[in-house]
């Protein structure tokens, strides 16, 4: 492998031939944390990307799509940036995509801006990311888009007081700020808040603090993975019943594995998210079915839908440009694009290059013996409020 690469590089230097020019291809470099703590988010996203390629073929606008995968191993902006640079100078990719984690996306944004390459962020949700490169489009969501909307919704739906609990790091702070802003602006009162360490195996002390205040509702943000179940169990242990104290959270809180681990303790938890595999639409049913088949029954999640829509965006943009891969052309093609995603109707805001989408409110209920996130309210056409404010 190494020798092949050396040979190729040498050939490229000596004869000025680039292997990329040999046939009309579009190369997409995926930069994701395939290994380490966040490996599962990358895996779920990658599964959806593979599914999209399988369903739509690997040729678009007469060009063959070639995907090159690069692992950052976790939060590592220096690595992400180097990988982005290498993808462009070494592998001559046309599009950078993936990006589960904010710091990695921010670091690669510089490369996209400098090399004028189209970049598709399929998950990283900090609001400012898309401002870092004019060639960037995001197909996931932003944290304020979900939490600020959720805060407003909570107040409008009869919740007067809330206690917020978030992980003490960037996304947690954004979630706390977003929710509190939406909630207070709508006239609600924040009766207390606490931030817990990012690596926190046992939440009982923090839950006890919340319980001491005896709030009408608790808003929770924790990163997906181990922690949703851990905090859910701590709530149940400390006797916080979602039937009396409303438990509000970001969708991570009631992911499949978390619900399973929490059991009946998860019933009644209300979450906000832009996607859940139970969303009822034709597009989603087909997507979930195909995804289940390809992945031994596992359900897609937001990372999957972000990757799936990201690939769709790339395909459609390439079709529009007729296979041209210049950053300007692709980003122009992407702006204002609208389609029916498995999550519902979405559009790319031409100003911010972020997704305009429906935000769903769900509650865990027992349906036919199964614990399910049941969609019971929705707010349509939500833009990223952070950038709307910036523009104002």
């Amino acid at each position: 492998m190494l020798t092949t690469r050396i040979a190729l590089t040498l050939a490229a230097m000596l004869f000025g031939v680039s292997p990329a020019l040999a046939q009309p291809t579009v190369k997409i470099g995926l930069i994701m944390p395939y290994s380490g703590q966040f490996a599962d988010t990358a895996a779920q996203m990658d599964n959806a990307i593979k599914l999209y390629l399988k369903q739509n073929g690997d040729t678009v606008a007469g060009k063959k799509i070639e995907i090159i995968r690069k692992d950052t191993g976790g939060v590592a902006p220096d690595v992400a940036k180097r990988l982005a640079q290498e993808l462009i100078v070494r592998d001559q990719v046309d599009i950078l995509a993936g990006f589960v984690l904010t710091p990695n996306a921010l670091a690669a944004a510089d490369v996209s801006a400098e090399s004028k390459k189209f970049m598709v962020v399929m998950n990283a949700a900090t609001a400012i990311i898309t401002t870092k490169s004019p060639y960037m489009v995001r197909t996931s969501a932003t944290v304020p888009q979900l939490t600020e909307t959720f805060g407003t919704w909570a107040r409008k739906n009869g919740i007067k007081q809330v206690y917020t609990m978030v992980s003490d790091y960037g996304p947690g702070h954004d979630a706390e700020q977003g929710f509190q802003r939406g909630f207070k602006d709508a006239g609600g009162e924040v009766v207390g808040s606490v931030r817990f360490p990012v690596a926190n195996p046992d939440f009982s002390a923090f839950v006890q603090r919340a319980r001491d205040v005896n709030p009408a509702a608790i808003f929770i943000f924790v990163p997906g993975g181990v922690q949703p179940a851990a905090i859910g169990k701590a709530l149940a242990e400390r006797g916080i019943d979602a039937k009396t104290t409303k438990v509000l959270g970001m969708g991570e809180l009631t992911e499949d594995e978390a619900r399973k681990s929490m059991g009946d303790a998860s019933i009644g938890i209300i979450t906000v998210y832009h996607y859940d595999h139970n969303h009822d639409s034709v597009a989603n049913r087909e997507f979930v079915k195909a995804f289940n088949e390809a992945n031994a029954g596992r359900n897609p999640n937001i990372y999957s839908v972000g990757g799936y829509d990201g690939m769709r965006l790339i395909y459609e943009a390439l079709k529009k440009t007729g296979g041209k891969t210049e950053g300007d052309a692709l980003v122009a093609a992407a702006k204002g694009m609208k389609w029916e995603s498995p999550r519902g109707p979405i559009a790319i805001d031409p100003e911010t290059r972020d997704v305009v989408q429906t935000v769903y409110i769900r509650r865990v209920e027992k349906v036919g013996g199964q614990l399910v996130n049941v969609e019971f309210d929705r707010i349509e056409n939500v833009k990223d409020p952070f950038k709307s404010r910036m523009a104002r």
Partner: protein, 333 residues
């Protein structure tokens, strides 16, 4: 082995001089570091990060390989350097060299302060205290997210061209030149240091810390000195990373980074300076290649590599190579 001869005393001088002389293999090695410019122009970014990691590993080698201080928190100084360089540029001073020196100096100052604690402990307590201090610093950086940018990383780091002539390009030509030059110059210092009476004294501390006071040696002072120097070098490595990638995030302070550099140093061979450099090259090239082939399970192969090195080349690759070379020489006189 030397036999007694009339010039036995001259032999003693000659023997010690031979230890410090530049070997042909060394010169060949440093010339070879220029090869990526010709052979692998698309790998210069990687080469630059390898050079930075090598510098970081050499700084750890000074305390671990020479003074016997095992640290699991060396990234603290790497991170300090990175944040200093990053913040310096963020607040308007984008000239790289001055930022590099300032970052290195600041890491050295903090290293000096920490050394008063470090010099009092050994063994597991020392390892855990360095680990604890590193983690505390990382948590502090997370808490001070107003300043550091927290998990999202420091935003707005911009570098002026090196010497106002060479901008940091996408290919990494400037980055590699800059990192390599810094590595080489620092390596010269480290090499001289290890061949000096001070270096000998450090090896004495490593070999037998109890005996040193009985020779009248103020071991703790020596430990403090080398810890300060190593911290400054680690800070320089961190600053280089910040300047060549324009990114600084909490990860520069992480336990993972401390552990990685320790693995790299042991892999290459501790106590021989080149061990850190070789370890960085092998580990990072292997990682690049393995993860290129298999982004999801590459670390399986890294694991096998580590296991194989321990089983077949104990005390690191360089020690193994040395033994092989010695055997070869004995066989063919």
């Amino acid at each position: 082995m030397a036999t007694v001869s009339l010039e036995a005393v001259g032999g003693a001088h000659g023997y010690l001089r031979a230890q410090t002389r530049w070997r042909r293999s060394e010169i060949a090695f440093w010339l070879a570091t220029l090869l990526p410019f010709l052979l692998f122009p698309a790998y210069l970014q990687l080469a630059s990060q390898i050079a930075i990691t090598a510098l970081f590993a050499v700084s750890l080698d000074l305390i671990l390989g020479y003074a016997g201080i095992v640290s699991l928190g060396h990234a603290a100084f790497f991170g300090l350097g990175a944040y200093t360089a990053g913040l310096f540029s963020k607040f308007g001073w984008g000239e790289p060299l001055s930022g590099l020196i300032l970052a290195s100096a600041l890491a050295g100052v903090v290293g000096y302060a920490a050394s008063f604690v470090i010099a009092h402990f050994r063994h597991l307590a020392l390892i855990m205290i360095t680990l604890g201090m590193g983690l505390l610093l990382q948590e502090a950086a997370n808490s001070a997210s107003e300043l550091t940018g927290g998990v999202d990383g420091l935003q707005g780091v911009r570098m002026r061209p090196l010497f106002e002539l060479f901008p940091f390009d996408l290919w990494g030509r400037t980055a590699y030149t800059y990192s390599l030059a810094a590595l080489f110059l620092t390596f010269l210092v480290a090499r001289r240091l290890t061949h000096s009476p001070f270096g000998l004294s450090l090896r004495g501390i490593r070999e037998n810390a109890v005996r040193m006071p009985a020779l009248g040696a103020p071991s703790r002072t020596r430990v403090r000195q080398v810890y300060t120097i190593a911290a400054a070098m680690a800070g320089m490595a961190g600053a280089l990373l910040a300047q060549t990638t324009l990114t600084v995030s909490l990860e520069v302070l992480s336990f993972q980074r401390s552990a990685d550099v320790l693995v790299i140093l042991i892999l290459g061979g501790a106590g021989r300076l080149y061990g850190g450099v070789l370890g960085a090259i092998i580990y990072m090239v292997a990682r690049d290649q393995f993860s290129g082939i298999n982004p999801q399970y590459w670390y399986f192969w890294i694991g096998l590599l580590l296991i194989a090195v321990v089983l077949f080349l104990p005390n690191g690759i360089l020690a193994g190579l040395d033994r092989a070379a010695a055997r070869f020489r004995r066989r063919s006189p």
